[in-house]
């Protein structure tokens, strides 16, 4: 089994440990991991902010970097959704359309990949986590079960569901800086719900949500530890 790992730009910029953890988790599950060198960003920031013409060359770079028939595994529900759902539209009617659709077909989020093939990285986990359903993971990929089943596969780890786990945390890409007050208010609600779950930490499949929730929790004095699900699996 061989996969191409998309590190994601956000992990590259602020949390390289997330991409490393994704690699470790996959390797421990017996998967051969290739991290294509030419990769940059999937292009979502430009696409969802209304700049498709700027996003396309960046996405084209991803098409080139992830060529080949191997699955593309992404430790982000949002980036995976961009490739799966956004690329066919971004490249519609263009020469790369077929290639974009082909890449979309074989792109999966990390926990989806692990759960689908029943792979177990066998991490040394303990304690409890609560899980935040990130929006694109939940509503574009339609993925609710995989992260939960992966968490359930960690011996000795308990999942404590929070209230309103399916409600947006308020990050929303550039929304977080266009309407920071609304974004912040939603972040407060998410952080409060996460803290009230009584788990040791909050995990999610999207670093972007976690950056926002953790940053908002710290600003408003809500005690909350956060980690990407990949980091739990790489323990």
């Amino acid at each position: 089994m061989r996969v191409l790992l998309m590190r994601t730009c956000l992990a590259d910029m602020v949390a390289p440990s997330v991409a490393r953890a994704a690699r470790t988790a996959l390797e421990r599950a017996g998967v051969e991991v290739v991290v294509p060198r030419g990769q940059t960003c999937c292009g979502q920031p430009g696409w969802s902010s209304g700049h498709p013409d700027q996003a396309r060359p960046v996405a084209r770079r991803a098409l080139r970097a992830f060529r080949g028939g191997d699955p593309v595994v992404v430790p982000s529900g949002s980036c995976a959704a961009m490739v799966r759902h956004g690329y066919p539209e971004l490249f519609a009617g263009r020469p790369e359309e077929a290639e974009a659709r082909e890449m979309a077909e074989r792109t999966v989020e990390l926990s989806q990949y692990l759960a689908r093939d029943g792979l177990r990285p066998r991490p040394a986990g303990s304690g409890s986590v609560t899980y935040h359903d990130s929006c694109h993971m939940l509503r574009i990929l339609g993925e609710r079960e995989s992260p939960r089943s992966v968490i359930a596969g960690v011996d000795g780890m308990e999942l404590r569901e929070m209230q309103q786990t399916e409600v947006c945390c308020g990050f929303g890409g550039t929304f977080s800086v266009s309407f920071p007050e609304v974004s912040g208010r939603l972040g407060d609600e998410k952080a409060r719900n996460a803290a009230a779950a009584g788990a040791d930490e909050l995990v999610a499949c999207d670093l972007s949500c976690l950056l926002h929730i953790a940053g908002r929790a710290r600003r408003t004095g809500i005690p909350l530890r956060v980690r990407h699900l990949a980091e739990v699996l790489a323990e």
């Binding site: 910029m13 969802s48 960046v58 947006c168 710290r218």
Partner: protein, 469 residues
């Protein structure tokens, strides 16, 4: 008989906002009473929807609605032809109008020709869209909203904050204050007493109105029947008591036949209020026929284009599938946080952020801002009984609206695109970012970032080490 109630402060219909949308969202967030009112309303809706989801095959019904509405919009010209023929056959008059001005003129001309002085209205978003109340008042007539929520707003000089629950942003005690100010009566604070007061005041209107104006939830092409769904009975009175009934509908609100109508009429209250049925479903086919005991002498159906026909065949066509249930508003975390008033448009929430630029044009101030008031979380799409991909439409609109205020963003995205299409330049930004984080971090956190990062730290700290501790 006492004098019918008057409107309070004369509202100016959706003026171009003096403040940017972000300012308006801040003010809404600062209003604690508003937050409570919105939370209560959204929770009630959520509970209803959850129950509906358990008791009905909502997902399948949603698929069917989508199929129906896609078909309706695809065959729109043909369905409208048939509708017009059937309404005329039943004795009604059909006016197809291109825009708001033409729609309002039709109504005011008709009122003048009939020597009308008092107009009673039941809830209608189309008339809100064309600013009919303002036009009718300008023509020297008195117009009274008879839907409880709409009447409350008329007294308050406000516009609807929700498609089906227009005054949902106000609570009981705020309503009591408005009623007392209007009537001069001292009223008890309980819900029943307030409703009884409104009923008493509004009955006077039904009895004396010359013209009744309603919206149309759905028009059935096969039989020329107009469906008006409501919960208070005011719609029945408005459409039946006055001598003249004028129904105003957006041109997309047509279905082919009764099989389709039955389905949409069933899913509408499920989606809208989380209930199996609305209290009143008025089915109106023509005016009073010879030998019939009640109904108006004249029925006029105003079919409004207002920018709709131009959407057919475009990437925004699915916006026409909307059945105006308001579910996407309740489902939207942004609408739930700031309410509908902050949007400054007749249509608020996700569908409002989509419809406003589509109907008003991409260049207006509202148009350039509203599509960005969304985290693209997709809860609107999930809640939509017609399965409209509202989040996709928002993304497409962001690329189309003119955003003169955000030249800086355009430059930043151009730079971003130039740099991140090349692995080497990307690598440089990556090292730059990590170096930057090391420089601004204090104990693993940054509290204030310079430049474009300032908007991030406006509301949150930034972890400079991961995982943050």
């Amino acid at each position: 008989m006492s004098e019918p109630p008057k409107a309070g402060a004369r509202p100016v219909a959706y003026p171009d906002a003096v403040e940017p949308l972000r300012e308006r969202t801040r003010e809404a967030l600062a209003d604690g009473e508003l937050a409570g009112n919105l939370a209560t309303a959204a929770a009630t809706w959520g509970a209803g929807r959850a129950r509906i989801g358990h008791e009905h095959p909502f997902a399948q019904m949603r698929e069917r609605t989508r199929e129906i509405r896609r078909g309706n919009i695809g065959r729109l010209p043909e369905l409208l032809e048939r509708l017009e023929a059937q309404v005329t056959e039943a004795g009604g008059v059909v006016a197809r109008v291109a825009d708001s001005d033409a729609a309002c003129r039709y109504v005011t001309d008709l009122a003048a020709a009939r020597g009308a002085s008092l107009v009673a209205k039941s809830k209608s978003m189309a008339t809100e869209e064309i600013k009919l109340n303002e036009a009718v008042e300008e023509a020297g007539l008195r117009v009274v909203e008879t839907d409880l929520g709409e009447w409350i707003l008329q007294l308050a000089g406000q516009h609807p904050s929700h498609i089906i629950a227009p005054a949902v942003h106000l609570n009981k005690s705020q309503v009591r204050d408005l009623f007392m100010a209007e009537s001069g009566d001292d009223l008890p604070g309980d819900r029943e007493a307030l409703v009884a007061h409104a009923r008493r005041r509004l009955r006077e209107v039904f009895a004396s109105a010359d013209i009744g104006i309603s919206g149309v939830n759905l028009a059935v092409a096969d039989t020329g029947t107009l469906c008006v769904v409501e919960n208070e009975g005011n719609g029945r009175l408005v459409t039946a008591l006055p001598r003249v009934h004028v129904a105003v509908m957006g041109m997309e609100r047509v279905v082919a036949d009764w099989e389709e109508a039955a389905h949409v009429l069933q899913i509408l209250p499920m989606a809208a209020i989380g209930d199996d049925a609305a209290t009143y479903v008025n089915l109106i086919t023509g005016p009073r026929a010879p030998g019939e005991a009640d109904g108006p002498e004249e029925l006029h159906l105003v079919i409004l284009d207002g920018g709709r026909a131009a959407l057919r065949g475009t990437e925004f066509e699915e916006a026409l599938d909307c059945i105006r249930c308001g579910a996407c508003l309740y489902a939207c975390p942004m609408w739930r946080s700031v309410g509908g008033q902050a949007y400054g448009s007749p249509y608020s929430g996700p569908i409002g952020a989509v419809l406003t630029p589509l109907l008003e044009g991409m260049r207006g101030e509202r148009s350039s801002e509203l599509p960005f008031l969304s985290s693209l979380c997709g809860a609107c799409h999930e809640a939509c009984p017609a399965g409209i991909p509202l989040h996709d439409l928002l993304v497409r609109l962001r690329a189309r609206v003119s955003t003169p205020g955000t030249r800086r963003d355009r430059i930043l995205f151009r730079l971003w695109s130039r740099a991140w299409r090349h692995p080497v330049l990307y690598g440089a930004t990556r090292w730059g970012a990590r170096l930057g984080l090391r420089l601004v971090g204090r104990g693993g956190w940054a509290r204030r970032l310079p430049g474009p990062g300032a908007a991030w730290t406006d509301q949150r700290d930034l972890p400079t080490r991961w995982p943050p501790r």
